[in-house]
């Protein structure tokens, strides 16, 4: 019986002889749990049943080919490393496989060395990816938590320094959806202390990132109020970071930060301010003494959703 604790590896081949050989090979590696599928349909069912570390798939299979399976699997599990098994005559298919996101291809018949090489490559890839994410996250946290308008060179016009550029680049990657030009990308509803009450993003901002960003937004907003509000003719505070802007509406208990690219019109500015007013009026009693319990402000996302649909008009 396969163990639930071991990393699962899926191997798909319509040829029993290949599946049997794989089964024998994996007896050498008890640290992995091999699951065999006899065709693409079987593979899709088995992918639903558990998480996999990687997948091997034959290309030449009846009904749904390995390349079609690759496309389907990549659409649903984009991070899953997939190795295609192919004969020497299928080199064109191998190129197609790369274009469809395969990690590599192995010539048939698979050997102990080629299969082990693919497993090792996958393990290395997963470890590197995890390490990169860890570094990215810690850099990002440090950068954002250390955000200081003065140190970033924001206090003197035109003298923004390299730290600021680095921060902008990271924010750009995390906040801005590449397919949305000239539109709203994120809405963050914040407490005065920088806690994210709710956020809505086109770019799937991770929860941990959102919490870190909350503190930074508050620091930016406080800085802007000190530096610019006296000369601003807008009801909102707006600051440009590289190619995008963050604009803030301030209420008695909360802030609404809107991240956008392009320009925001008067109607949108009013909608942002009105949303914050409506949220605060409807939740006045809770906000007066809010203890950080999100369940008491569970309707907050609905305000953001309505605002998003009101102002996210395609300007292109």
């Amino acid at each position: 019986m396969p163990s639930e604790d071991l990393p699962n590896i899926l191997a798909v081949d319509d040829d029993f002889a290949v599946r049997m050989a794989m089964d024998f090979m994996f007896k050498k590696w008890p640290e992995y749990n091999l699951i065999l599928a006899e065709d693409a349909k079987d593979a899709l069912v088995k992918l639903e049943e558990r998480n996999y570390m990687m997948m091997f798939s034959d290309i030449n299979m009846p009904e749904i080919s390995g390349l079609e399976l690759l496309e389907m699997v990549k659409a649903k599990y984009p991070d899953l490393p997939i190795f295609m098994l192919t004969s020497e005559t299928d080199i064109q298919n191998s190129i197609t496989a790369f274009r469809h996101g395969a990690m590599d291809y192995l010539l048939k018949p698979p050997t102990v060395a080629s299969i082990k090489g693919a497993i090792d490559k996958t393990v290395e890839y997963i470890e590197e990816k995890a390490e990169k994410e860890r570094i990215d996250m810690s850099d990002f946290k440090q950068m954002v938590e250390g955000f200081s308008p003065e140190e970033m060179g924001l206090t003197k016009s035109g003298s923004k320094n390299t730290e600021f550029t680095k921060l902008v680049n990271v924010l750009q990657e995390k906040l801005i959806h590449p397919g949305k030009v000239g539109r709203v990308h994120n809405l963050f509803l914040l407490s005065k202390s920088g806690i994210v009450i709710a956020n809505l993003s086109a770019n799937e901002v991770e929860e941990t990132d959102a919490d870190i960003l909350g503190g930074m937004f508050t620091a930016v907003k406080n800085f802007m109020e000190d530096a610019f509000s006296a000369k601003s003719d807008s009801t909102l505070n707006d600051i440009q970071f590289g190619n995008f802007h963050i604009t803030f509406a301030s209420g008695a208990y909360s802030e609404l930060a809107v991240v956008y690219t392009g320009i925001i019109n008067q109607a949108a500015e009013e909608a942002i301010a009105d949303t914050l007013i409506a949220f605060e009026l409807d939740n006045m009693k809770t906000l007066e003494n809010w203890d950080g319990d999100f369940s008491k402000l569970s309707t907050a996302p609905t305000y953001l959703e309505k605002l998003f649909s009101d102002i996210d008009k395609d300007k292109s």
């Binding site: 319509d14 040829d15 029993f16 002889a17 290949v18 049997m20 050989a21 024998f24 007896k27 050498k28 030449n60 009846p62 004969s87 048939k108 018949p109 698979p110 050997t111 102990v112 060395a113």
Partner: protein, 92 residues
């Protein structure tokens, strides 16, 4: 498959011969022009797997079957299948 010990290797070869013999029976039971695709796939598969189990003879026969199926040449298919049957029986 130099990485397997003798017992493992013998077990694998035996299972492979048994499996291929059963597949051959299925093919022999429906040997007509409507089954050319199934015959081609069978040839293609044993072409790929024969060598994997140390039977280069099976790989060669698989190639012949695949080519004959693509050419709809039933006489050549029958001849190659007969060759395969003889080989498999010699290994049981």
């Amino acid at each position: 498959m130099e990485d397997f010990d003798d017992d493992e290797w013998a077990e694998m070869q035996e299972m492979y011969i048994n499996h291929t013999s059963k597949e051959l029976d299925k093919i022999n039971n429906q040997l007509d022009l409507d089954s050319l695709e199934a015959i081609r796939i069978f040839g293609h598969n044993i072409k790929g797997s024969g060598g994997m189990y140390g039977f280069n003879e099976i790989t060669n026969i698989g190639l012949q079957i695949e080519i004959a199926a693509k050419a709809s040449d039933l006489d050549s298919i029958k001849s190659s299948l007969s060759e395969l049957e003889t080989f498999l029986k010699s290994k049981i």
